[in-house]
Amino acid sequence: MALSRRLLPLFLRRGFPAAAAPARALSTAAAPAPAPPASASEEEDESSITVKGVRISGRPLYLDMQATTPVDPRVLDAMLPFYLSRYGNPHSRTHLYGWESDAAVEAARARVAALVGADPREIFFTSGATECNNIAVKGVARFYRDRRRHVVTTQTEHKCVLDSCRYLQQEGFEVTYLPVRADGLVDLAQLEDAIRPDTALVSVMAVNNEIGVVQPLEEIGRICREKGVPFHTDAAQALGKIPIDVGRMGIGLMSLSGHKIYGPKGVGALYLRRRPRIRVEPQMSGGGQERGIRSGTVPTPLVVGFGAACEIAAKEMDYDHRRVAALQQRLLDGIRAQVDEVVINGSMEHRYPGNLNLSFAYVEGESLLMGLKEVAVSSGSACTSASLEPSYVLRALGVEEDMAHTSIRFGMGRFTTEEEVDRAIELTVRQVKKLRDMSPLYEMAKAGIDLKSIEWSQH
């Protein structure tokens, strides 16, 4: 077995084309037990995968890091002991099992806190950023409902913030949905004007999930502090990628997620400021875990994984950032060198480089995505990827409907290689050119006809 593991990568390297197939068979035969099948609807063998009737030659290269990230092996290594012998309930106070789990949870809490400059007592573990956003938005509004009836947010927030706000409107709260500028950033003067004496909360996300723009957190925090309004930020896409300091940025509440920073899915954390204290009405009734903010047994393995992911992110942030920025440049240069009329959605200056959202003019978006079967990318957020509607985030930026339809979000991260970026460029360029060759609109535009001037006949 050891031999086959050592041989396999050798065969797969360049120069051994024909030998790769037998090497695979060898490694399967030598495995101690067959791995359980991933799912029933998926057919997989050495030469191809068939899912939902689509046949692909291999597992696609992954450029969808905003949807989720792979678990870092170092994270899994920290988690596994708590799936094996150390299975205690961290809230059990009467035996070793509980004590060791509790110690691990508290160590993880300290790691999460350290990454954002918080006190460990300000970190509350939840099931993820969606739950945090719900607790923050609804919880603050409900707790201060007697005196404060108004919430300020932006049009480009994540669905779970917008939906929570909509829910509050049904309960009689007023919500201001601030527009954003064409570059995706919120207008600070507008934000300041929107705050009223009875505003309970200002909620602005740190890094946008679809277009990657970084909002001016420090300035927003300062405005909120001056006005005495709690500032909530959804930092699921920002944690571990840009430096966050809750003190410097004047953040009162913050939503964090494990699976966006190479940690496990199903865990997140809410930061809740102690001084001045911000209070929320909890959503979950129960055993009073997490100081009553979020009842329910804390999932030790997930929390430990989240803590490990934060610790690694703190150490690796500079290294990862340098790499991801170089990859973004490579991708952008590569595509622009071969395809014209490519538009970057969102500010390029205030942007997390791991997100590159591009629109290709005169190309139909779904055809483009379907033609890129070997590249795992998305047109926007995973939550809305089932619908053919253009992204509401892009529309908020004022992107024309046809351009919003042709957007692709390339998400790069810690494990992305230069070769993957090069392949993505090659495949994207090929597909865009193919679709444009078929497009009468592109032909007309090239002939100098202004498409906006055409009066399309009814049919």
Partner: protein
């Protein structure tokens, strides 16, 4: 504890080679490439570490990370999907 001398050049090189060997054993394309790349960059970065405590700390950290990589290479091999990444297939054609 007495301050130990900095690791010798031979010890450091041996640790680096172990990293490269372990990296190759990862069945996952991205993890394999990352392990190799990260180890190479870390050793390059720390090459100039002259002062013994710092060099010792980096060496100890390296040994710890190597153990993690060795364990995880085994875990990954146990659950490797049958189909390879398209990035590995190109080599065949």
């Amino acid at each position: 504890m007495a301050a130990a001398a900095a690791p010798t050049r031979a010890e450091v090189l041996s640790l680096f080679r172990s990293f490269l060997r372990t990296a190759k054993q990862f069945s996952d394309y991205n993890i394999r490439e990352y392990t190799r790349r990260r180890a190479a960059d870390a050793f390059r970065e720390n090459r100039a570490l002259g002062d013994p405590p710092a060099a010792n700390a980096a060496f100890a950290e390296g040994k710890k990370q190597l153990e993690v990589a060795k364990r995880q290479a085994v875990v990954y091999s146990l659950y490797a999907p049958k189909a390879k990444s398209v990035m590995e297939l190109q080599v065949q054609q």
